[in-house]
């Protein structure tokens, strides 16, 4: 089946088995390895990508479901060489340890800040409650998101 959608701002059209999971299509067919598989069951959030701006688990989506949609992966959140404010803040606050969960957290946070530029602590924690991290205890991730939000507000 031919599917066409927008990936990281560019149109893409490919022949692909409609029941192929989006995560496999991204990682194996396109080499976009930044999206990680931690559970394959919608529980850990490592595979989070944005579909029309919403954070979704790419391990639960089939290619047929992204027809005509806008998909953004971790490879597409930067603008040019400039890191997304969440990425920048994660580095600064020490929100990254092993880094396996990090792309997923970046995507969930980016989706949150897009919709709610001034989230309070509880809103932040709720927005990333579907992302598991075994290393950091979440404190620095939450702090990073808050800082990124502040910077984005100042910029706009």
């Amino acid at each position: 089946m031919k599917i066409s959608f927008t990936l990281n701002g560019k149109p893409i059209s490919r022949d692909v088995a409609p029941d192929k999971r989006l995560i496999d299509f991204l990682r194996e067919d396109l080499g976009l390895i930044g999206t990680k598989e931690g559970c394959g069951k919608g529980e850990c959030g490592s595979c989070t990508v944005l579909m029309d701006g919403e954070a979704v688990c790419s391990c639960l989506l089939l290619c047929a479901q992204v027809q005509g949609r806008h998909i953004t992966t971790i490879e597409g959140v930067q603008s040019g060489n400039e890191l997304h404010p969440v990425q920048q803040a994660f580095i600064e606050t020490g929100a990254v340890q092993c880094g396996f969960c990090t792309p997923g957290f970046v995507m969930s946070s980016a989706a949150l800040l897009e919709k709610n530029p001034e989230p309070n602590e509880d809103e932040i924690r709720r927005a990333v409650a579907g992302n598991l991290c075994r290393c950091t205890g979440y404190s620095k991730i939450v702090k990073g998101i808050r800082i990124a939000g502040k910077r984005m507000r100042e910029k706009s």
């Binding site: 990682r27 194996e28 080499g31 976009l32 390895i33 930044g34 999206t35 990680k36 598989e37 931690g38 559970c39 394959g40 069951k41 529980e43 850990c44 490592s46 992966t73 971790i74 490879e75 930067q78 890191l83 990425q87 920048q88 994660f90 580095i91 600064e92 020490g94 990254v96 340890q97 092993c98 880094g99 396996f100 969960c101 990090t102 792309p103 970046v106 932040i124 924690r125 709720r126 990333v128 409650a129 579907g130 992302n131 598991l132 991290c133 075994r134 290393c135 950091t136 205890g137 979440y138 404190s139 620095k140 991730i141 939450v142």
Partner: protein, 770 residues
């Protein structure tokens, strides 16, 4: 002549050297490797806990589409088994299946689906055997044997103080139990193996202890060590968990790669990871405590039994630490400790962050609170009366070296959390259904391996001719930030910016065997080795400087990316490096650090177990809904003595992550097996704390640089996780008056005092039963 040590500043802004790669998704984890002509491996697993292997038929599987190889134990050229202590864990089961996750055969095919399908077509004939699932039952004389000999895996004793149990005014007898814990690194195990260009094999994967894995792979393939190269991919967490299970994957992928002459990738799904990987040991801990009426400890008798599961793994060492630290960080004149580990047909158990201490910390810290209750003293006061102080002697007869900072840590968290006041106030609240509570726990911990084994490590430092530096170590970074910590040490020594340092992932072909990265030894061992290499190189550079610019070697020092003589800037560090190259001065050095001597006498359980100790304390404040049993952890105060902080953000990260992992141990996590069959296999059932559960964490560090460590640093990763659970359980008691002696403190245990889920008691099939 003395080379001046640059002052380690532990800059608060030291960022991870691997940060950008990780936030952008460019970091290449093991499963991200996509070489050309790749084949995929799959495993046929036993899915029974104990059975004789009668026959394995592979002809159907061989005929399947895309299949390139199907292998069984018969195809292994060298040793069939491996293991750090006893080499009896089979790469593929040959004689018997000993637990549910054992593998029987391997397939390599062109797609993961084809490999999986073919593996399902493998026909195995097994004869199920009577099995044993509890360590107590395993040690009964007619219990089914897991291996050829006794089910007793190991036994340690510690004997301190003469005579019989002293008579005491207070005697407490309590038994505590802990559960199996899954490491739950977010990255499931993965590896790619390929035949090496000039013979041998190359393996790149999420391997924690590359050198022990290499030994096993070489033995299995019957290759010399030099023909097996193991490269560490960026690791997505380990917590002690990517050791034997990665050896297993490495051996299997290597066998398939050599059989097919193609690169072979093996990636565990989360479900496969759950059933195949080893866990943290569940313990049953029975204590008899004697104290005088003022709460001063007089005697402790401790009898622990640990479930080692199907294989020995590191159980011998894990239980040794439990034995050494059985009486907690307290002065006790009379101690008898016995720790046994038994083989069962459960998942095997091995190293996990804490390594034999979280179980003991939970029990002894609960017990101290029970003593506080008995004597009507506060938990802080009971600890003040008994805690180790400078110059005290441990039950193994070791005088505590250096400064003993236990009281300092305790007083710190008590003060910061306003412990005494809250504790008294919450205790008095009998009315509202939602109750608050606050709890305390503390620990001491022997640094690094101690008398467990050879303790030395190497780090390689190579200055480039422009003054940038490449660092590589035998210590692996699994996410904890060793690469950053070691880079910081090198940057400080050469007075250059962290951005001029490149750290290489560990590769057995290029760095010296540095033992395993376990026991919170990364920074202390790898860091001291890095420091040693820097000193060697600085010595060479200063010699050259004395030749070129006159004066003595010790007139020179490095500051602000330059060489200085007194307060005069002589030359830029990069130019100096270039000059050194022109003068044929070797710019590469291997630093080596050997831990100070430790001793152990197994028969008496006496010795200098560790060369240094660290101390820590936690306070936890909880809110308990007594109508639902739900416990929320609101705040945790953590204070740890760390010797010297090398990299502040990484140190904080260890504590934040450690506390939340400890919270999971206390409240949520249990890898539950029923008759050897795993009952939960993914994160929908095995609950990790999320951002909504994690408490606010308030941390402080005490720094007392250790004289035996050149850089002053000691350990942190494990102390950070071992005392949160008991602090929480003690807080639940403060809130509700209910003492929970079995982890996790789940809703039912908090509400009803017992667990509802388990359908039948954990019993073993006896020989009589079919």
């Amino acid at each position: 002549m003395r080379i001046k040590q640059n002052k380690l500043k532990s800059h608060p802004k030291n960022r991870r050297v691997d940060g950008v790669g990780k936030v952008t998704g460019k970091a290449v984890f093991a499963a991200d490797q996509m070489p050309g002509h790749l084949l995929y491996g799959a495993v046929k697993r036993a899915h029974v806990p104990h059975a004789k292997v009668l026959h394995i038929r592979t002809d159907e599987a061989r005929k399947c589409k895309g299949v390139h190889a199907v292998l069984t134990a018969n195809d292994i050229p060298g040793a069939h088994g491996f293991g750090i202590i006893v080499p009896h864990q089979r790469v593929l089961a040959d004689d018997k299946v000993r637990f549910y996750g054992d593998g029987l055969a391997l397939v390599a095919a062109e797609t993961p689906e084809q490999a999986q399908f073919a593996a399902e077509q493998i026909n195995v004939e097994l004869e199920e055997l009577p099995a044993v699932f509890s360590p107590e039952e395993a040690l009964v004389s007619d219990a089914p044997l897991v291996h050829e000999n006794s089910n007793l895996l190991f036994e340690h004793t510690v004997h301190h103080g003469e005579g019989e149990t002293p008579d005491t005014a207070i005697n407490l007898l309590h038994t505590y139990r802990t559960q199996h814990i899954e490491h739950s690194y977010l990255e499931p195990e993965a590896v790619v193996a390929w035949p090496a260009e000039h013979g041998g094999v190359v393996i790149k994967g999420s391997v924690q202890n590359l050198f022990s894995t290499r030994r096993s792979v070489a033995a299995v393939l019957d290759f010399p060590l030099a023909k097996v190269q193991i490269i560490q991919a960026t690791l997505g967490g380990s917590f002690g968990g990517k050791d034997e299970v990665m050896t297993l994957l490495s051996c299997r992928a290597a066998l398939l790669a050599l059989a097919t002459n193609r690169p072979v990738k093996m990636v565990n799904s989360r479900e496969e990871s759950f059933i195949e990987s080893y866990k943290r040991h569940p313990y049953k801990l029975s204590y008899r405590l004697g104290a005088d009426k003022d709460g001063y400890l007089k005697s402790i008798q401790a009898d622990f039994i640990a479930d080692g599961g199907a294989y020995a793994s590191t159980s011998q060492f894990v239980t040794w630490r439990s034995a050494v630290q059985a009486a907690g960080p307290y002065r006790v004149p009379w101690v008898r400790a016995r720790v046994r580990a038994a083989f069962t047909n459960n998942n095997y158990t091995g190293a996990m962050r804490g390594f034999g201490s979280p179980q003991v910390n939970f029990a002894i810290e609960s017990l101290m609170d029970e003593l506080a209750e008995e004597t009507q003293l506060s938990p802080l006061e009971i600890r003040r009366r008994n805690a180790y102080r400078d110059g005290d002697t441990t039950p193994t007869g070791q005088k505590l070296p250096g400064k003993v900072t236990l009281i300092e840590a305790l007083e710190n968290v008590a003060r910061e959390s306003d412990f005494e006041k809250k504790w008294a106030q919450y205790r008095a609240n009998k009315k509202s259904p939602v109750k608050r509570g606050i709890g305390l726990a503390c620990s001491y911990r022997g640094v690094s391996l101690g008398a467990e084994g050879t303790d030395a490590a190497g780090t390689l430092v190579a200055i480039q001719t422009d003054g940038s530096v490449i660092v590589a170590s035998g210590i692996t970074d699994m996410g904890q930030g060793s690469q950053t910590a070691l880079s910081v040490i090198v940057a400080e020594e050469f007075a250059i910016s962290l951005s001029h340092i490149k750290f290489l992932n560990t590769d057995t072909d290029r760095v010296p065997d540095s033992g395993p990265t376990v026991a919170s030894r990364g920074t202390i061992m790898g860091g001291n080795a890095a420091y040693d290499a820097c000193i060697t190189l600085k010595n060479r550079l200063f010699h050259l400087a004395a030749q070129l610019y006159g004066g003595n070697v010790d007139d020179f020092h490095l500051k602000d990316s330059a060489l200085w003589r007194g307060n005069k800037r002589v030359i830029d560090f990069g130019e100096l490096a270039d000059k050194a190259f022109a003068h044929a001065v070797p710019l590469m050095a291997v630093g080596w650090f050997k831990a100070p001597k430790t001793t152990w006498h197994e028969e008496h359980g006496q010795g200098t177990a560790y060369f240094a100790f660290v101390y820590g304390a936690n306070a936890a404040e909880v809110e308990v809904d007594t109508e639902t049993g739900q416990v929320r952890v609101l705040d945790v105060w953590a204070c740890h003595e760390v010797g010297k902080i090398v990299s502040y953000p990484q140190a904080c990260g260890q504590v934040y992550g450690g506390v939340v992992m400890g919270q999971g141990y206390g409240l949520f996590e249990e890898y539950h097996q029923e008759q050897g069959i795993p009952q939960l296999r993914n994160f929908d059932e095995y609950t990790l704390a999320t951002a909504l559960d994690a408490p606010q964490i308030h941390l402080s560090f005490l720094e007392h640089p250790d004289s035996l460590s050149l850089i002053g640093a000691k350990s942190l990763g494990e102390p950070a996780t071992e005392i949160c659970a008991p602090a929480i359980v003690n807080a639940i008691f403060n809130a509700t008056g209910r003492r929970i002696r079995e982890l996790p403190a789940s809703l039912e245990r908090v509400l009803l005092g017992k667990q509802l889920r388990r359908k039948n008691q954990r019993t073993s099939l006896t020989k009589e039963q079919p």
